[in-house]
Amino acid sequence: MPTVSMKVNGDTVSGEVEGRTLLVEFLRDTLGLTGTHVGCDTSQCGACVVHVDGKAVKACTALALACEGQSVTTIEGLAKNGALHPMQEAFRENHGLQCGFCTPGMIMSAVDIVKRNGKKVKEATIRAELDGNICRCTGYHNIVKAIQDGASKM
């Protein structure tokens, strides 16, 4: 079996994988990082969003081997030195989550949205940028609020 090495949340990791092993499977099954979730099989729900070399991608549609040598950040790597990322705080403060299943992908997308659109990102932009993240619980109202709040504190 081929081996893959990459940086995950700052740590260099490697493991044996198959050609077909998806990044999300490598994270969840090999590394035990189960914060990244799988909610669909057609790359639409966004529960699996992680950052690869600083870009938000769906880990269910990336091959693990294609991430050789790259740097991956998952929800588990967002808090630094025990301090929550402002976006994590904002989701909690604004009740931007209910069942929590879509939340890791939502937060990773949110951080990416703010990085690309700035601290004063508008509601309409946030809603459009969330096209690749489905939440069944919140009606998005508080997610949008949380992202605006988190943006101002990032």
Binding site: G19, V57, D131
Partner: protein
């Protein structure tokens, strides 16, 4: 997903050798369609030749022409500063493909080689009269796209770049499928000057097609009013649970108007 051997060549020549050697292999450039298809076990290539290792990406804007390398992601096309000045509608189109995560991975080369009948790029290539540069030859967009999921590419031919002439004005309007966000109807209009207007429609039919009646009308008068009342025949258009052929035909007219109105 069935297992496969994964290759990530760094040179185009190596990629070509690999695809030649592995008769049941497949090229991948972003994988936004191929990976989900393999997950559903609807495709089971023996080998995947991942083209992202070629480093063949970037946008080059010259005076009359833009070259977009095949490995350029939709996000890169959408945000390219020079391209925004040269062909803003192409940036807007790329910025409306899929969702942000798809745009970060999907590439122009992968998209056009796949030729999904509901993809956005084919409309841009046809309307802009682009040239597809492959590992073997150059092809006009009109000749490149061959109907549903079919192109003129041979098995071992790799898309290297797309060359777009810079039009006077162009615009794209898309009516997304409410579920998938693919184009249910997308219309790209481009005014190349001297009465040369091209109108390409995606999503509505078996593949991208030109709306010649609209081209004629717009060549005489490049305005939204000019396309009013020009019907598109529903006969050959797609029908599914989201849209009848008749509705699609109607939307071609509406989107054409909006594309012209928004053309820059």
């Amino acid at each position: 997903m069935h297992d496969f051997n994964y290759h990530r060549p760094t040179k185009a020549a190596d990629a070509q050798k690999l695809i030649k050697k592995h008769k049941d292999g497949a090229l991948m450039s972003g994988g936004m369609t191929l990976v989900p298809t393999m997950k559903q076990r609807l495709a089971a290539p023996s080998d995947i030749i991942d083209l992202t290792g070629l480093g063949n990406s970037g946008v080059k804007v010259l005076k009359t022409k833009v070259t977009v390398h095949a490995g350029t992601t939709h996000a890169e096309v959408a945000t390219d500063k020079d391209l925004k000045k040269a062909i803003p509608s192409l940036c807007a189109l790329a910025g409306g493909i899929g969702d942000p995560h798809v745009r970060n991975c999907g590439t122009i080369g992968g998209s056009i080689a796949n030729n999904d009948p509901a993809a956005d790029y084919p409309a841009a290539l046809v309307a802009l009269d682009a040239t597809v540069v492959t590992s073997k030859r150059k092809l006009s967009a009109d000749k490149f796209f061959k109907g549903m999921f079919e192109t003129a590419l041979s098995r071992d031919e790799i898309v290297m770049a797309v060359e777009f002439p810079i039009p006077d004005k162009s615009g794209y309007a898309k009516f997304p499928n409410p579920a998938s966000r693919y184009a249910m109807v997308g219309v790209y209009v481009a005014d190349h000057g001297k009465g040369n207007v091209r109108v390409a429609v995606t999503g509505a039919g078996a593949g991208v097609f030109r709306q010649k009646a609209m081209e004629k009308a717009l060549s005489a008068d490049f305005s939204a009013n000019a396309v009013s009342g020009i019907a598109t025949k529903a006969d050959d258009l797609n029908e599914d649970i989201h849209a009848s052929a008749e509705y699609r035909a109607h939307l071609v007219g509406v989107m054409a108007k909006r594309a012209v109105a928004g053309a820059k």
